[in-house]
């Protein structure tokens, strides 16, 4: 490689040596380096840069896709958070309604129970009063009948002792007069 480069440089550019030598530039070497650079450039452009650029492009695309996915995920999370908040709000509202409704129902049940107890107590009192009235009536009847029996027995006993033949005769005479 060095031999090839040296031979090419020595054969073509001998007349211009003074200008370039005064500037300290070896034009043969410069040409060779330029060719080498161009060759390198071609090689890079043909075999290195495309895959590299493709890789960079792919990486860029991946990064953009990731960023977009992240953004989408953030947006979805925000939307979900908003939806969750709305659902919670709705659930709290429904819970409050249920609690209020349950309180009302409980109050109604308590009132109904009070009323039922009061009605039952009234019915018991009335039943007891009716029972007492019946017993009083029954006692009155029993007393009436017992008194009647006592009076009848006592009357009979006394009259058996008091009504003699003479009294009886007067009684019969009076009865006959009344029968006419």
């Amino acid at each position: 490689m060095n031999y090839f480069i040296t031979q090419f440089a020595t054969a073509e550019h001998a007349p211009k040596a003074d200008l370039f030598q005064s500037l300290g530039i070896d034009w043969k070497l410069l040409a060779l380096q330029t060719v080498a650079f161009l060759l390198l450039l071609v090689i890079l452009r043909k075999w290195v840069y495309p895959p590299l650029v493709a890789m960079l492009d792919k990486r860029d695309a991946d990064m953009q896709a990731s960023a977009k996915a992240a953004k989408d995920a953030r947006d979805a999370a925000d939307a979900a958070e908003v939806k969750t908040e709305e659902m919670l709000k709705k659930a709290r509202k429904e819970a409050a309604q249920i609690v209020a409704s349950a309180r009302d129902e409980a109050a109604e049940l308590v009132d109904a129970a009070h009323k039922k107890a009061a009605d039952k107590a009234d019915a018991l009192v009335k039943s007891a009063q009716d029972e007492i009235a019946k017993e009083v009536e029954s006692a009155k009847k029993a007393l009436h009948n017992e008194t009647l029996e006592l009076v009848t027995s006592a009357t009979g006993t006394i009259l058996r002792k008091k009504v003699d033949a003479k009294t009886d005769e007067a009684l019969i005479s009076q009865a006959i007069k009344e029968a006419r």
Binding site: N145, L148, T152, R160, E169, S173, A175, A179, R180
Partner: protein
């Protein structure tokens, strides 16, 4: 064997005999009732006889009292029965003494009953139980 004589015919026969002062007819009637096993008809036949006698002008009255009747009481009862049933009828009193009546009198005829005894009044009083 002859058939049974009806109660009505027996009563008519007995009343006719009694009106003729034949008191033995009652023994005959009693014997007949016993032989025909009609003892339960006795009271009914007596009532029929009394009814027949009443139609013939003879009032038979059963008088129940706690004490024996005096003559004045008998007279008053006879007058009462004649005034109520038949002024020209002959009144025959069948007297029964029942001390449990306590006082008053009960007169039973074929036409009805007059009960003014003290026992009846006490019974009526007892009947007022509730």
């Amino acid at each position: 064997m002859a058939g049974r004589v009806s109660r009505r015919k027996l009563a008519e026969y007995a009343a006719e005999q009694l009106a003729q002062n034949n008191s033995a007819v009652m023994d005959e009637i009693a014997a007949l009732l016993v032989s025909e096993k009609r003892g339960r008809d006795g009271d009914l036949i007596v009532a029929d006889i009394e009814r027949d006698l009443a139609e013939r002008g003879i009032i038979v009255a059963t008088v129940e009292s706690a004490h024996a009747l005096s003559d004045e009481t008998r007279q008053e009862l006879t007058q009462l029965l004649q005034s109520e049933l038949n002024p020209e009828a002959t009144v025959m009193l069948r007297e029964l003494v029942r001390p449990e009546l306590i006082g008053g009198v009960k007169v039973t005829t074929a036409n009805g009953v007059l009960d003014v005894t003290i026992a009846k009044k006490l019974t009526d009083l007892r009947a007022k139980t509730i």
